[in-house]
Subunit: 320 residues, 2 copies
């Protein structure tokens, strides 16, 4: 009998194999790419829930409570926490240990934090691959938690099957947070820390923004759920709303997943092309010399990029 491969062990749900596989895709190693190729046919079963919101909105606690509630219903859960921790703070690994304690001994839960890395959507790509691994490992639900309200976080959450936006009542900041591009991606709003003063004003400001939007008959209108993640208040209501959204959008789930596939394919094409250019098109040291010429304003980046592209594609038709 031969040793089972890493992909076989991932597919059987072995947590050590899952942890190893995640490290491979985080490192952007070729073996990580091969692993995703092997498991890909076994994905698409998990329901992906994105949770985002500004720093300090209590997302981690909410995700922990949601995990416990989903487990109580008998489904297994994977958590990807995108945590752009400073390199000074010790960060992600320690955080995972603390968070895992709440679910210690429960083989139905797997939690992994991801630190900020790279450019050109590297973090969003790695996050989406970790979700694929957890999906292939048989997790029924994958929770993707991101801190921040930037484009990358929006990209991450937008590619989930449902997007939950978490807000806290506070001195005017919540309105800023709503402005910051996340209003349009919310399928459900959670006003967390609802024991704080100003909760009703926050709910009203979300309501008034929603009232500006025309919803067609039968179209999903994002509900606003008040929660206190620390006590668990509102978490059953949140899970119930997730279930309603899931049933409501069952017929359109395909188009959302198709958008995710499109984003992933474009991202991979760009990454692969840049690798090819650096390895096989440019002479040793040429990239550096090109940058020096750009720095000295002898060459502009558009002309440089077009020249490299022409050489890379050589016999193909000239790019516009």
């Amino acid at each position: 009998m031969t040793e089972p491969s890493l992909s076989e062990r991932v597919l059987s749900g072995d947590p050590r194999a899952v942890a190893r596989a995640i490290s491979l895709v985080e490192d952007e190693s070729p073996s990580g790419a091969r692993l995703v190729q092997r498991i890909f046919a076994s994905t698409g079963r998990a329901y992906l829930i994105g949770v985002t919101g500004p720093p300090g909105a209590g997302k981690s606690t909410l995700v922990d409570r949601l995990t416990a509630q989903i487990r109580a219903g008998g489904e297994t859960v994977g958590v990807v926490a995108v945590d752009p921790t400073s390199p000074f703070s010790g960060g992600a690994i320690l955080g995972d240990r603390v968070r895992m304690q709440a679910h210690a001994g429960d083989a139905g839960v797997f939690i992994r934090s991801m630190a900020t890395r790279g450019h050109l959507g590297g973090l969003a790509r790695a996050t989406s691959e970790v979700a694929l691994i957890l999906d292939a490992a048989g997790k029924d639900v994958v929770l993707i938690e991101t801190v921040g309200v930037g484009q990358d976080e929006v990209d991450i959450v937008r590619t989930a099957d449902i997007s939950i936006v978490t807000i806290v009542p506070g001195a005017g900041d919540e309105v800023q947070a709503l402005k910051a591009g996340i209003m349009e991606i919310a399928d459900i709003f959670v006003v967390n820390k609802s024991d704080r003063e100003g909760v009703d004003r926050t709910v009203m400001s979300i309501e008034s923004l929603l009232s500006l939007q025309a919803f067609a008959a039968g179209e999903w209108r994002p509900p606003i759920i008040k929660a206190e993640a620390t006590t668990g208040k509102g978490v059953p209501e949140l899970l119930e709303a997730i279930g309603r959204f899931r049933r409501h959008t069952a017929s359109s789930l395909g188009s959302r997943r198709r958008a995710r596939a499109e984003w992933r394919l474009r991202e991979l094409l760009a990454q692969r092309f840049l690798q090819f250019v650096e390895r096989d098109v440019l002479e040793p040291g040429e990239f550096d010399r090109t940058l020096e010429r750009i720095g000295a304003r002898e060459l502009d980046p558009y002309t440089a990029a077009d020249g490299i592209l022409q050489r890379a594609i050589r016999d193909a038709k000239a790019a516009e």
Copy 2:
């Protein structure tokens, strides 16, 4: 006599030409690219100041105050405010009008907001090109203001000549904000709204994070400046610190600008390659059919990307 071209009018500092040029690069039009090619040799003179921080940190007011202070010293100022405003809110244009009023009639100030757009670093690329236009138009200082603490905002601010991180004292949120990947990019910290309670605790928490980092002799240690942007308190000290940093890093400015050129070249290469693939490599409808096959799990995205790349580069060496 012939009419001067748009690029000539930008180089002469004509504000209407600058506004038109910015719209072209925002729309990612080919004429925008040609314009950047034409003006590129006349860039590299402006000093680029990035200002970031979490929502509600008072960045807009701070940038306005800084603009007035720089103008008082006789230098001209361009402002690019990256404002990922919700599509519902009217947003960027209205905001520009309100903000311009503070500098009404001052031809030495040009302010432009950019809304969130596209994927694959589209916002960061457009922002950096707007900075080039303002630079070519003769602005001595370009202020780049971003809201949020995401990867994209970090990318934008990282490519400026100096990065200012703005924090407000508040219920534990400021520590979260520090964690969120922006600690490492700060050249100067501003604790804004310093009339609020908790300002000294916030300063101390930044100090304690800084104390974990080893600074070599002669290395820049980010100062922490208390400010009240609404009253202008702390703004002269901030400008003085910017001046000190500028002198301190005068000899290493080249390497920072080189990193910016590298990021821009990679970004452009990826964008141009994807355009080429869609126009000249794939058959009509093929991209859609590929996505359908990925959705049905008949094909994985890695195999699909590698297949498209091979066809695009045909006679060149096979990509790894």
